[in-house]
């Protein structure tokens, strides 16, 4: 699985590449050799698409733009300047990467459908431009004098071997990305861009890197494709089918995986080519139809692709065999043992406040979400912010970690005003947070989820991993480290989120309804963990709707109601405050029980 070491994975890829090359050696007629060449070509296109769209979730319908630019670059430079493809193809990669960057800078302002559609426009615009330039059909010159330099081989199997080499390169690159900070950050962006920023990830920078690399890969393979086909036409390299095929082989095989695009290309490309050879003269559009049916079928039957379908099956079998019987009881026992040895809390109340909020107001349209809110968060304390639904609690957190800017007022973090700073900067400055709705990266293991959070301060991947392991032990989830986050219980998810926030080494931890929806015993477990964190010196601000579990947890309450501070103080005093009782139980309650 993903935990396998890079060396083992590289070995596996190399073996696969070698096997492929050997198989290609046995392809006797030129038609089969051509198929053996285009399978890796589309696998690389799929891998290129996957680096951007598969990992970051920004779906591109326009990868033909990079592919076509690469193809035309190699063709034009060979025709015009006699440039050897050995030089031309790497240059085509650079060009594709540049094009990716140029496209990415404006287009990443968009998300979702808008991004996908905008990407569609680039290759189609280029298609018409190249037609207008008069490059309807560009034939590469035959260079019998220098077959090696011009990459024109008698033996067509050499093309298949070159293509296989490109594929191995792309796969190794993907394997490296997948296990590094780069890949993890992209996955985090895909799952939840806002949460990723809050975890300290510079989302735009990573997305630009991804599209640049993705464009470079597509440009390279486009350049190679021109050499293989010897003829370049706008429709063949900028056409819709190019972008669609990159997307389809990946979606079919498995989005966001190393093997997905390769599996997709291995199945779909020969299938469509062979059907075309057999039935092409009867059913002219058979290739496109095959891809169309494949993508429709995969969307309906295995929306995440063949790879995930198989992997999920295997995982379920394995999990049943290994974990099921002992998992629950063992971890529960470990946790209760940990809870028993509660260290004494260290409080330096006299120190300067961690956060100081000075008359902050925020309105959304006509709705005044917060009005003139002032409060201090003292170092080492557990502060509970409570209030009925719609009181402005989550808005308050969003202000603290930089998602939104206040209309008025100041927010000081250790004496420095942080209004206007980006979420990842605030995270790096020591503010971690969790969310009301738990947002784990479901396809990643528990450990990988936490590793993402650890990248903020970690210098290397190894360090991030050890920090993540440490955070997991802090919350008592070490035993579950290798489980997929998608299968966790509610209590485990809450702890996972705590660990993820903790891995960023925060000074302050903002917890958004961490106890909501937890039953008695589960809530106790989580409370114990929070207490332990506070004892280790982390300042904690926790939002809850109700005071029930909170009265035994917090040092101090701030009660918000209708966007304003209603009361503040020790739990015992706040729960007896008439204004608080009115807000929670209604006036009638106090009248009846007076």
């Amino acid at each position: 699985m993903r935990q396998t070491s890079f060396r083992r994975q590289a070995l596996l890829i190399a073996t696969f590449g070698l096997a492929y090359a050997v198989a290609a050696a046995f392809a006797q007629n030129s038609y089969h050799q051509l198929i053996m060449t285009v399978v890796p070509v589309w696998a690389v296109m799929g891998l290129a698409w996957n680096v951007l769209s598969g990992y970051s979730g920004f779906v591109s319908f326009g990868h033909a733009a990079f592919f076509g630019l690469g193809a035309y670059f190699v063709a034009l430079t060979q025709i015009g300047w006699g440039l050897s493809p050995w030089l031309g193809i790497p240059c085509a990669g650079v060009l594709g990467g540049l094009a990716g960057l140029v496209v990415g800078i404006p287009t990443f302002r968009l998300r979702g459908h808008y991004f996908a559609l905008a990407m569609l426009a680039y290759p189609l615009a280029l298609l018409y431009v190249f037609e207008w330039l008069g490059y309807q059909e560009l034939a590469l010159p035959m260079r019998r004098d220098a077959p090696l330099a011009s990459m024109q081989f008698e033996d067509h199997r050499i093309y298949a071997w070159l293509a296989a080499a490109l594929m191995i390169g792309a796969m190794l690159l993907t394997a490296l990305i997948e296990r590094s900070r780069f890949g993890m950050s992209l996955l985090a962006i895909k799952q939840d861009e806002a949460a990723a920023e809050a975890a300290g990830i510079r989302t735009l920078a990573w997305k630009l890197k991804a599209i640049t690399l993705s464009g470079a890969m597509a440009g390279t393979v486009g350049g190679f494709y021109a050499v293989v086909l010897l003829v370049v036409t706008p429709a063949a390299v900028f056409g819709m089918l190019v972008s669609a095929q990159a997307l389809i082989v990946t979606m079919f095989g498995g989005v966001g995986t190393l093997w997905g695009p390769v599996i997709g290309a291995l199945v779909l490309v020969p299938l469509s080519e062979l059907l075309y050879a057999r039935l092409g003269n009867v059913i002219p559009g058979i290739q496109g139809t095959v891809f169309g049916i494949a993508i429709v079928a995969v969307t309906l039957l295995a929306p995440e692709g063949v790879f995930w379908k198989v992997k999920d099956l295997l995982w379920r079998l394995r999990a049943r065999r290994l974990f099921a019987p002992r998992m629950q009881s063992a971890s529960a026992a470990a946790e209760s043992a940990a809870v028993a040895e509660l260290p004494v809390r260290r409080k330096d109340r006299d120190a300067a406040p961690v956060f100081e909020v000075r008359s902050v107001s925020k309105a959304f349209g006509g709705l005044q979400a917060l009005r003139d809110v002032s409060m201090k968060v003292l170092r080492g304390e557990i502060l509970g912010i409570i209030g009925p639904n719609g009181a402005g609690k989550t808005t308050f957190f969003n202000l603290l970690n930089g998602y939104i800017r206040p209309d008025r007022g100041q927010i000081l973090l250790e004496g420095k005003n942080i209004v206007g700073r980006r979420p990842y900067e605030i995270c790096a400055a020591g503010v971690g947070r969790t969310f009301q709705v738990v947002r784990p990266f479901r396809r990643m293991t528990v450990l990988e989820n936490v590793v993402v959070g650890a990248y903020v301060h970690a210098a290397s991947d190894e360090q991030a991993r050890s920090v993540a392991e440490e955070s997991l032990s802090q919350v008592g989830l070490r035993r579950e480290a290798q489980l997929l986050a998608g299968g966790l219980s509610n209590r485990q998810l809450r702890l996972l989120e705590l660990a993820r926030a903790l891995a960023g080494k925060p000074k302050v931890l903002l917890l958004d309804e961490t106890l909501a929806g937890l039953g008695g015993g589960d809530a106790e477990d989580v409370i114990a963990v929070i207490r332990r964190l506070a004892a280790q010196g982390v300042t904690i601000v926790i939002i809850e709707h109700t005071m029930q579990a909170m009265v035994r947890l917090v040092d101090r309450f701030v009660v918000l109601d209708n966007g304003a501070v209603l009361a503040a103080g020790q739990p015992a005093d706040v729960t007896r405050d008439p204004a608080v009782i009115d807000a929670y139980l209604g006036k009638r309650w106090r009248v009846a029980h007076a």
Partner: protein, 235 residues
């Protein structure tokens, strides 16, 4: 009229409701109170069919409600006034009411219903042609309730009608609900955060905590129970 037995439901494998049993008699006003995350809204969504249950049964007027498609449940006489109002913001006030009267019963009694709605909420008559999205929060809440009433329901599900409203406006909405309940034959199932008000007017009440019914009883039994105070204030 409505009988919920052993109901369990959740989202994506995370359970929210845990074996909830609730009975609503015809003509009653039944209140469900409980802190955030207790599963009140999920309970309503399960009754309406938006959330599928994992176990348990719901019977409405003796028939198995779970066998009925979600969009057909309104036609049986169940009107759901959802949390956060959810009016059709781009439609006018009157069009919202027309959509409320999408059911056969609502269409038949359209004229008289409209008259009664306008008498309960005169402001809706004044603003009949305005886009619902342009109304104030309180007015939108009134519209959401009126939209529910326009279907001539037998059972009205009200989810947090005072949510996010200024106290005075919430009081006003609450008065209307009580007036509507006493002035018509409609049965009301109410989820409300203003515990005291809800229980004061309710015939029966249920306290929901972490997906379970922890307390139930008549108006008098609940009013003086300190368990409720504990649920909210913890001490």
């Amino acid at each position: 009229m409505l009988e919920i037995r052993g109901l369990c439901a959740g989202y994506g494998g995370v359970p929210v409701l845990n074996s909830v049993t609730i009975r609503v008699e015809s003509g009653d006003l039944v209140a469900i109170v409980g802190p955030n995350g207790a599963g009140k809204t999920t309970l309503f969504k399960t009754i309406s069919g938006i959330v599928p249950p994992t176990a348990g049964a719901i019977r409405f007027e003796g028939a198995d409600l779970l066998a009925v498609a979600p969009s057909s449940r309104a036609h049986l006489g169940i009107a759901h006034v959802p949390e956060g109002r959810q009016v059709f913001a781009s439609l006018t006030v009157r069009e919202n009411l027309e959509m409320g009267a999408y059911t056969e019963a609502g269409r038949r009694a359209w004229k008289e219903n409209l008259e009664r709605i306008y008498s309960w909420f005169p402001v809706l008559a004044q603003r009949a042609k305005a886009q619902a999205g342009a109304l104030s929060g309180g007015q939108q809440q009134m519209l959401a309730i009126a939209r529910g009433l326009a279907s001539s329901p037998k059972l009205l599900l009200l989810d947090e009608p005072s949510l996010g409203l200024a106290p005075a406006v919430a009081d006003e909405i609450f008065e209307r609900i009580v007036a509507i309940h006493s002035g018509s034959a409609v049965t009301v199932l109410l989820v409300e955060q203003r515990v005291a008000e809800a229980l004061h007017f309710a015939d029966r009440g249920y306290v929901l905590e972490a997906g379970r019914v922890v307390l139930e009883g008549s108006h008098d039994e609940l009013r003086n129970n300190d368990r409720i105070r504990q649920a909210y204030l913890g001490m």
